[in-house]
């Protein structure tokens, strides 16, 4: 199946999965490429939200071929969990960032290499 085919199809689960994958890959690239710690955090948020899109899409009743929901609201619940988790993670990570800045007057992650073996 080629990618142009998808564009010609009506919106289905695959489209959502493609969006999720794109979001995830963007997040990962952001994580690896950014030297700014806040950028890295944003990459993490992107990756998490990519996953969230997948959860919600898999769980959606309207996207199933038979129109029946077999999963119920489990995906949505999981997405909410991930959002809360992401909020917590952001709080901790920002605190780390602050501390890091206090110590090194920078938030360049390349400077944080004290754990080098």
């Amino acid at each position: 199946m080629n990618i142009m085919n998808i564009l010609t199809q009506p919106v289905s689960l695959s489209h959502y999965l493609v969006v999720g994958a794109v979001l995830f890959v963007c997040g990962v690239i952001c994580m690896t490429a950014k030297r700014n710690l806040l950028g890295v955090l944003m990459g993490i948020e992107l990756a998490l939200n990519g996953a969230n899109v997948n959860f919600v899409a898999f769980s959606s009743r309207f996207l199933r071929a038979d129109g029946q929901s077999a999963i119920g609201l489990d995906g949505q619940c999981m997405a909410l969990f991930v959002i809360v988790l992401a909020a917590g993670e952001a709080a901790v990570a920002l605190a780390i960032a602050l501390c890091f800045y206090n110590n090194c007057t920078t938030i360049d992650v390349d400077q944080a290499s004290e754990l080098k073996g």
Partner: protein
Amino acid sequence: MESAVLLPRLLGLAWLLPLGSFAAIVLVGPRMGKGGRGAGLLATGTILASFLLAATALGVWLGGHPISAGAQDATGQHRLAAGSDHPALPGSGTHGAPPHAHPAAPESIEPVSGDWYTLARFGSLRLTIGYYIDALTVAMFFMVTLVAACIHFYSLGYMREELHEVTDPLVTLPSGEKLNRPGRFARFFQYFSLFCFSMLGLVIAGNLLMVFVFWELVGICSYLLIGFYFERQSASNAANKAFIVNRVGDFGMIVGLMAIWGTLGTLTFADTKDHAGNVRQAGIFSQVRPAAAGYALRVPDGMVRFAARFEIEQIGKQAQEAKGSAPQMAPWGRDRALPSKPGLPATESTIVPREGHAARRSNPALSILSVGVGESEIASRVPLWRAQGYGYWLLVIAGLGIFCGCVGKSAQFPLHVWLPDAMEGPTPVSALIHAATMVAAGVYLVGRCYPLFTPEVLLLIACIGCVTLFIAATIAMVATDIKRVLAYSTVSQLGYMMLALGVGGWVAGLFHLFTHACFKALLFLGSGSVIHACGTNEMPALGQLRRKMPWTAYTMLVGCLAISGAGIPLLGGPGGFGLSGYYSKDAVLAQLRLFKQSSPLGGWLFYVAVAGAGLTAFYMFRLWYMTFAGPARNKHIYEHAHECPKIMYIPLVVLAVLATISGWSVWGTGLSVPAILEQARPAGTAAGVAGGLLLPDVALPPESLSHDPAIHTPAAAIALVMALLGFLLATAFYGLRVLDPEAARRRLAAVYWLLRNKWWFDEAYQVLFVRPTLRLSAWAAALDTRAIDWFLDHSVRGVRALATLDDWVDRLFVDGLVERMARWTHGLAIHLRGVQTGNLRHYVMQIVIGMVALFVLLSLYWSYAASGWGLY
């Protein structure tokens, strides 16, 4: 009953107080005041408190057992008369009882005895901390604490220099300097307290084991105090000598104790009673001199049975065969089945089977012998065996063993060599230990165990005492060291005591012990102040000191008069009037004179003792004249001499008063030392001791007869004349100097030579015992180094070679493997280290790449799995 409760508490407290002082000084002694001064005060205070308690106890005792006026002379007579009224009790006709002696009346004064604490129990042997309190115990407590208190006070002054650093002029270090050491004031009083505790424990002891324990404690205190200046070679040698010589005696004592325990099953003096007053276990005294036999000396059932054990075995076998029963060697059940009537008091005639029963049960060796069968036959045969002399030698061994210990401790003839050397200790030690109390322990024990001694043993005691008294007195005549004169005098006076005890003068011997304690402590303390003032013991360097130290000189004169037995016969009564030694020595001599009438040997003993009286006066006055009279022989010493401080001469005055009055009786009451002692006379000895199996002729006369003026007055007169002769001779030689000692020495060169060398006892022991022992030990040491060490060396070498091999294997294989693995792991870790860059983005990349790789692998796996692994 009041005194039975009160006396153990009073005396027990008086006994334990010095222990408390000892413990306190051990823990914090040197920190008590400056240089440990507080330790001295504490020790003195506790002994003073003990003295007050002992005095109270004496008052309680006399309150419970008053002495009527004139009782001193009449007691013995009265008792004899009362004894003859008694019909001979059944059982007293056995051989142990002397055929001609009347069974004495039961003792009216029973000792207060009991146990404070049971240490251990082995079968029927109970090891207890017990007490046995009679008039002798109470009087000894009074005397020991009184003399010890005086000596403690004196020591506070005498040992003052120990408060600071001491430079000992007699010890030269290898560097050539004199030894400089810290003072040992606290330590001195610590030992003193321990000594007082041991001596009082010995006196109050209720059983022979406790006696032995405190006996040894006294010995160790003596060792510690003789070796007080242990840096001096002579002092440490003397301490060793005293200790080792005493061990020789103690060996005999242990033999005696084992003979008693092994056959009688108990070491307790008195009967053990339960709360109702019934006898649970008969004590030594009531087994040897049972009340049922009129307190006559009788070989106890236990000893008879032990001696006749083979016959008993035979009877048991026969009885079993007669019964036809299977051999049944379970004596315990049968034993219990025997009718033992615990409700009956010891005076009942049933005591005989019960006694044997108890003894047998206590002794496993005997219990095997008695198989339970034929018991009635055995019991009926015991009197017969006893009459045949079974077990008599056991009694003799027990007595000899105990006396052997006393020979060591009281420095009697073969073992007297330690006492003069013991003068190396500080002078108060000599006064306390080697004059007044420790050496008295032996005499005390002979007095305490008196009921045990058979006539043969007593005769041996008398002979030993006699020899000791003579030898020591002769050596004292030529000794020039002031303390050695006193030491030999002590040995000699102890000989008197033993002699008196050996010929039946129980009260006389112990009375002399009491008076001697007072005047010998006085004399030693006096010599101590002379040494303190002059710094030398040698009498030829002294002289004329009475002008410099009048208190010391005249109190010592009182002591000399007392020990010489100065008195005026026929003044103030039939006994005469004199210082304490006059009474006690006369009592000894009167008893000897009585014995002389009944035995040919007695003549020798009597004449030697009389000669000893003369010698005593001679050497004592020789000492006094050489020290205090005549010209000052050494001007330098004389110039520096000075009277001792008050704390030292006041005890001298107190002891001088005691030495004067301790023989007197309180006016109008008859209360005197012999009267008190008379209350403690062992039951059954008032009528004399006789009827030994080995020497049936020997009969020790009853002491009461010696109070007869016909016996007593001539003895006193002869003693006084001899003492006067000695005194005059000493005066002629050393006081007026009309005779020249030098000339006499030349004339009697051989005798002088003999005496000056102390009869060569030390040399003889050196040759006979010390050198062979040293040679034996040298030989053993050679064996040790040549053979045993050689063997050990070689076996060690083999073990070493084996260990080297093992070491090599260990290093090469075991360690090699482990080390190789460690090195490999280390190398891997070094390589992997590069992955850990510390860079966050690298980690993220690794995660991503890892995930992608995982994903690719999984999809490959799945596609292969879906296509059936590509096999088809």
